[in-house]
């Protein structure tokens, strides 16, 4: 069995999807969380000056989505056919776009600009996204086929961040709520959600 070592800050951020996937697959890994003070020393040793990084038997990989895809593949959560996998990829990428828009809201320092951005996001970008994704979900509460894939888990993770700003965002989206339930009730994920460090983001 290869050895996996994930390094990131002590937050959920760009590593949490990876941690959720390890948990779903029941794959043991070292969940290294470094203090900000240790980062300048580590940075030049990383492939692109960023974390998270995943070390697999000594080889270092970066880019959170690339790492997540690799772990999803090892955990059997990628999707079966190439077209299933492409569907999962596209849904993840679309989710990441909305994630970036959410970040712009959250990171805005000017109070009145922030209120403006938040309003625009909650009135336009967010409903547009959720309506599309409700359409992508099937009745059994899955985005790809009839079983859990990383597309579902990634959506759950994104909603975790989003509902911190917009608590009632998912009200009325029956199929999306089913997806959330399916993810939360996966044994590996349920255990991780109970045990994971509580961080503000």
């Amino acid at each position: 069995m290869p050895s996996y070592k994930l390094t990131y800050f002590n937050v959920r951020g760009r590593a949490e999807l990876i941690r959720l996937l390890f948990a779903t697959g029941g794959i043991p890994y070292e969940d290294v969380r470094i203090g900000r003070d240790k980062w300048p020393e580590l940075k030049p040793k990383t492939p692109m000056g960023q974390i998270p990084i995943l070390e697999v038997d000594g080889q270092v990989y970066c880019q959170s989505m690339a790492i997540a895809r690799f772990v999803a593949r090892e955990a059997g959560l990628l999707g079966e056919s190439s077209s299933d996998q492409a569907r999962a990829d596209m849904l993840l990428d679309g989710g990441a776009e909305v994630g970036e828009l959410l970040k712009e809201v959250v990171l805005e320092k000017d109070a009145s600009k922030r209120a403006e951005k938040k309003k625009e996001f909650s009135e336009k970008s967010l409903p547009h996204f959720l309506t599309l994704y409700e359409g992508f979900a099937n009745d059994s509460g899955h985005f790809v086929g009839e079983s859990l894939t990383w597309a579902d888990i990634s959506f759950f993770n994104m909603m975790d961040f989003l509902t911190a700003e917009f608590p009632s965002a998912l009200e009325g989206y029956d199929k999306l709520n089913k997806i959330i339930e399916n993810v939360k009730s996966n044994p590996g994920i349920a255990k991780w959600l109970k045990e994971r460090p509580v961080t503000d983001h």
Partner: protein, 214 residues
């Protein structure tokens, strides 16, 4: 099309985008490298408001495969690479290809930020300078090292062309328009660009593709 051995059917591929290279070009390069026929649809801007409503996320590019629509340029390129055998051979190679694509995507997004999103002319110029003085050289210097971890004289990952190389050529095409000498400090990357440009199939496509500004 690609022969599905079991059902003896050729898949039909249609790529929807505007008339430019943009975020469709990596997929076009991969089709060309495999000699895989596809319909290269270029939408006129007048058609766009109605056209987009038929698309999964109201955006292009979209790849339609026997009627199923896939959107998101990185997902599309990865899919074309998979069906044409240019995705990376092992799980770890695929992870490495993916990480390089994501790194290139990050840089392209930063460039797009000043080209498309910054409206103030002074800020635009400031951001462009920052891109070419800091962001891009940092990226190219890291990428030269990453290429060297694969030997330096072949493709980015493993033995053959992968979608990371297609994305890299697209980035190179773009930045070389602004600064033709940008690769001078990075000889291995310069040679890689030539290697991709002369790849059978890609060479012919580059000679005949519509010439567009971006």
């Amino acid at each position: 099309g690609v022969h599905c051995g079991a059902c003896r059917k050729m898949s039909v591929y249609e790529l929807h985008y505007f008339n430019n290279r943009g975020r469709a070009e990596p997929a076009r390069l991969l089709f060309a490298a495999a000699g895989l026929p596809y319909r290269d649809i270029r939408i006129q801007s007048e058609q766009w408001p109605e056209y987009k409503l038929k698309l999964p996320m109201h955006q292009v590019p979209v790849l339609e495969v026997d009627g199923t629509m896939i959107c998101q340029s990185v997902a599309i390129a990865r899919y074309v690479a998979k069906v044409t055998g240019h995705a990376g051979k092992t799980d770890l190679e695929q992870a490495k290809v993916d990480m390089l694509v994501d790194g290139i995507d990050d840089v392209m997004t930063k460039k797009g930020d000043y080209v498309w999103h910054e409206k103030d002319e002074t800020r635009k110029m400031e951001k462009k300078n920052a891109f070419y003085e800091t962001t891009l050289p940092q990226f190219l210097s890291r990428f030269e090292k990453l290429l060297l971890t694969n030997g330096g004289d072949g493709f980015l990952v493993g033995e053959g062309l992968a979608h990371a190389d297609a994305w890299f050529l697209c980035l190179a095409d773009d930045v070389l328009l602004d600064f033709p000498d940008i690769f001078t400090p990075y000889p291995k990357l310069a040679a890689l660009v030539e290697r991709i440009r002369t790849y059978p199939g890609i060479k012919e496509w580059l000679a005949k593709r519509p010439q567009t500004e971006f």
